[in-house]
Point group: C2
Chain length 126, copies 2
């Protein structure tokens, strides 16, 4: 007789978001092979940057995110996603706080190759 007993726990985005309030500091929720799912709160303007070696996926959970490009922009609300292709300069912006998921390879820095004071701690789990 096959008795299945373990109850595994899903990752709940709202619950994880309730554990921190600082902005621009992504937390890692899970890994998929060598990719990471990160959750982050952002508000205001970021810096122009790109990721030379990887695309970057954004999924908005709450709020409105605008991603500026050198030639335009995309605006995402809850239940929407966008993939910024590698090498494309972009600048996230949120008039009010946005809660969102990032999916990108392990080791990807939030500021890409720009560095500087806005660079967040990498590989910080929650």
């Amino acid at each position: 007789m096959n008795v299945a007993t373990k109850t595994y726990k899903p990752i709940n985005f709202a619950e994880k978001l309730s554990l921190f309030s600082d902005q621009w500091q992504p937390r890692v929720l899970a890994e998929l092979n060598d990719y990471q799912f990160k959750i982050v709160r952002i508000e205001g303007d970021f810096i122009w940057h790109d990721h030379k070696d990887t695309d970057e996926a954004f999924i908005v959970i709450e709020g409105t995110l605008r991603i500026d490009f050198r030639d335009g922009s995309v605006t995402l609300g809850p239940g929407e996603m966008y993939v910024v292709p590698k090498g494309v300069e972009h600048k996230p912006y949120a008039e009010h706080e946005v809660k969102m998921l990032l999916i990108e390879p392990r080791g990807t820095l939030n500021t890409g190759h720009e560095g500087g004071e806005r660079t967040a701690q990498n590989d910080r789990w929650i």
Copy 2:
């Protein structure tokens, strides 16, 4: 003067879901390097299978998803995710229709290495 004019379009999950009603037939929404974001409707029982070479991420958009394992299960609602590790046998189940995202490498079949009649068309975009 830098005039940004283009308005790029985000991927809206509800809008994409409104374009099809068949179940167990994942549609590709986007690619992130060699990974794909797929959207799918499922209801009822699937077959036991695993993916020998890759983890597989599930994010529930609407409904309640149970993933059975040989030793237990995990139950996910909207705003929850779970990553099934590679090589782990699993069987998705939904009492009522679930709408969800899958994230996995391009080329991953829904039935893993099991094959059979439940194998959906791969790399079908929407």
